[in-house]
């Protein structure tokens, strides 16, 4: 890795794998593995938002959690600012560790119901000495104001808030850690459409105000289109395409991306839509197809696809794993 790319890249994910053993029988021996994330390599640049899309079960969430080490990867490395996250964890480097944070999908499940907002937001900054006890109240208030919460409600409990407000609490909790990199794991999927855009705009505002870097995980392409700089498409635990946003939506190269984009609803009743309908279901991640993982459903499948696996190759910043693009 050159000095220049090291400067540009905030997060580097190299050959990341996460396999879950399937245990059977009395001896609980592993009879197979669910390949949730199967050899994924990508990077996130400083200050950018990388949108990670894919259907449910393709490993998006697993990637997010593995980057933060909430899950231990089976293989591969994750580098944050040039340092292996594993060594950060081992050396208990709290200062660096707190720079990577996560916003969860479920605004109900991700807040401790027994703690009030002040404690939820203030607990970690106090522990990491980002704020002293005497000034903690002011600290919490300032963070709440940043995310558009009424500071008067800081003694209230999560169940007294609406879904959108709870998501703001989750964002405030992250913001209070003064992070550099935030994994947004479907942060608006559980919210009403009317609230979604508010939260998305808040995330965009915070990004510019605090020069944050996002990994934005979503199954909703229109949301990703709204907030991302680059888009990465995941299918069955493998990256099939990574491209700058404009490039991606203008000319998607992988047949799977093409099908995804054709499925975005167009808000015009008589607009002609050439939807590509994919046949069949996503194959099981226990037993992914030989060759190209998309070969079982690809409308443009060739003999070669079933025998050989295409690798992610770069053509001027637009990476695709498909023989058609060679």
């Amino acid at each position: 890795m050159t000095e220049e790319t090291r400067e540009r890249h905030l997060v580097d994910v190299l050959h990341l794998k996460k396999y879950y053993p399937i245990k059977r029988g009395v001896l609980r021996r592993a009879v197979g593995y669910v390949k949730a994330v199967n050899d994924v390599t990508f990077h996130i640049e400083r200050g950018e938002t990388l949108g990670l899309v894919g259907e449910s079960g393709c490993g998006k969430t697993t990637i997010g959690r593995t980057i933060l080490r909430l899950l231990t990867p089976s293989a591969g490395t994750v580098k944050f600012d040039g340092t292996d996250v594993e060594t950060l964890q081992k050396n208990d480097n709290a200062a660096l560790r707190r720079k990577m944070q996560i916003i969860f999908q479920d605004p109900y499940g991700s807040l401790n119901p027994r703690m009030n907002v002040s404690d939820i937001i203030g607990e970690a900054p106090l522990y990491h000495k980002l704020a002293h006890r005497a000034e903690l109240d002011d600290y919490v208030i300032s963070v709440m104001e940043k995310v558009g919460l009424r500071p008067e409600s800081r003694a209230k409990y999560p169940h007294e808030f609406s879904g959108g407000q709870r998501q703001r609490i989750g964002i405030a909790r992250v913001l209070a850690m003064k992070p550099e990199f935030v994994v947004c794991d479907e942060p608006v999927s559980a919210l009403d459409v009317s609230i979604q855009s508010q939260v998305l705009n808040l995330l965009a505002d915070l990004r510019s105000e605090f020069s944050l870097t996002y990994l934005f995980i979503s199954h909703d392409l229109s949301v990703v289109k709204h907030i991302s700089d680059r888009v990465a498409v995941l299918y069955l635990g493998k990256m099939v395409e990574i491209a700058p946003k404009a490039d991606f939506f203008a000319k998607p190269m992988h047949p799977y991306s093409q099908a995804l984009i054709s499925a975005i609803p167009v808000p015009m009743p008589d607009a002609k839509q050439n939807r590509i309908i994919l046949e069949g279901d996503v194959p099981s991640p226990v037993n992914p197809p030989n060759g190209c993982i998309f070969s079982t459903r690809c409308p443009k499948v060739m003999d070669r696809c079933r025998a050989e696996e295409p690798h992610l190759t770069d053509r001027g910043g637009h990476q695709t794993a498909c023989f058609l693009c060679e």
Partner: protein, 297 residues
């Protein structure tokens, strides 16, 4: 700290809401009042009891008091030695509560930490602790307590509640384990880990407060069981020894006189046991309904 210029509006914690729900539940409030009355009787037994519970009035005051039936002076009658049964029942509350509370403490001290370790750590720890729980569950409960008590030559009350605690922790351990397993995977615990909080904080601030409701319910419901168990032990001659005014002991001493028509020696302590067990069951059921978070939302 100086008063902050921005006023904080009071929040309704889940505990506060649970209390509101509890108060609306008539049976639960009845259970609470009954429980408080027992605690009151136990604390003030010395003042409330008209006579010394060990004073053998048939020998010291009046031989006619031997097995005398209920009267104005002795509302629950007297036993073979002329002891005032009302005084003995009141003092018995003390013994029963003492055993109930201390046996429960032993139960909690063993059951909760082991359940927490099994649930949070998983793996070998979970296998080991779950195996131990299953082994103890497989034993007949009362036989196990008897075995523990009879290992020592003079069974004291301390031994009884340690023995009860030693077998009683398994149910609590299972409940705690289940709670920890489900909470360990919850998103707010994951969030706490992402925030870089230490394990002890995650366990004590994030998991335990959310696991405490079923633990409290189980403990309260278990009190009734422990009190019956103590009475059973005393009845069998283990546990409290004469002349201690223990309810189980009184039932055992008086049982042969029931058929002869002198029922008061056994029946009144029996009613006391029933009253106590009912009180804790009502209270426990009420707590379960009030603390059930699933009713929310």
């Amino acid at each position: 700290m100086e008063a902050n210029p921005i006023r904080a509006e009071a929040g309704e914690s889940l505990l506060k809401e649970a209390w509101v729900r509890f108060r609306r539940n008539k049976l639960a409030m009845l259970g609470l009042i009954m429980t408080l009355s027992i605690i009151f009787a136990a604390i003030f037994a010395g003042v409330l009891a008209p006579y010394d519970p060990k004073a053998q009035l048939a020998f010291t005051v009046n031989p006619a008091l031997k097995l005398a039936g209920p009267s104005m002076q002795h509302p629950m009658g007297n036993d073979l030695y002329g002891r005032d049964i009302l005084s003995r029942v009141l003092h018995g509350a003390r013994i029963s509560l003492e055993i109930g509370i201390f046996a429960t403490l032993v139960t909690i001290m063993i059951g909760v930490p082991l359940g927490a370790i099994a649930g949070y750590m998983g793996g070998v720890w979970d296998d080991l602790i779950s195996w131990l729980v299953n082994v103890i569950f497989a034993f007949p409960f009362i036989l196990f307590v008897l075995a523990v008590v009879s290992v020592f030559r003079n069974p004291s009350l301390y031994l009884v509640f340690v023995a009860i605690g030693l077998v009683n922790w398994v149910a609590l351990c299972r409940i705690t384990r289940g709670q920890f397993i489900s909470l360990r995977g919850s998103e707010f615990v994951e969030a706490a880990r992402a925030l870089g909080l230490p394990t002890w904080k995650i366990i004590f601030r994030h998991i335990l407060p959310n696991a405490i409701a079923p633990i409290i319910v189980q403990t309260t419901l278990g009190m009734g069981g422990i009190i019956t168990l103590e009475a059973g032990l005393a009845y069998l001659g283990f546990g409290a020894q004469p002349p201690t005014p223990s309810w189980g002991l009184m039932i055992s001493e008086g049982q042969q006189y029931i058929a002869r028509g002198q029922w008061w020696w056994s029946i009144f302590p029996g009613i006391a046991i029933m009253y106590t067990v009912l009180a804790f069951n009502f209270l426990g059921d009420g707590l379960r309904d009030a603390l059930d978070v699933r009713q929310k939302r």
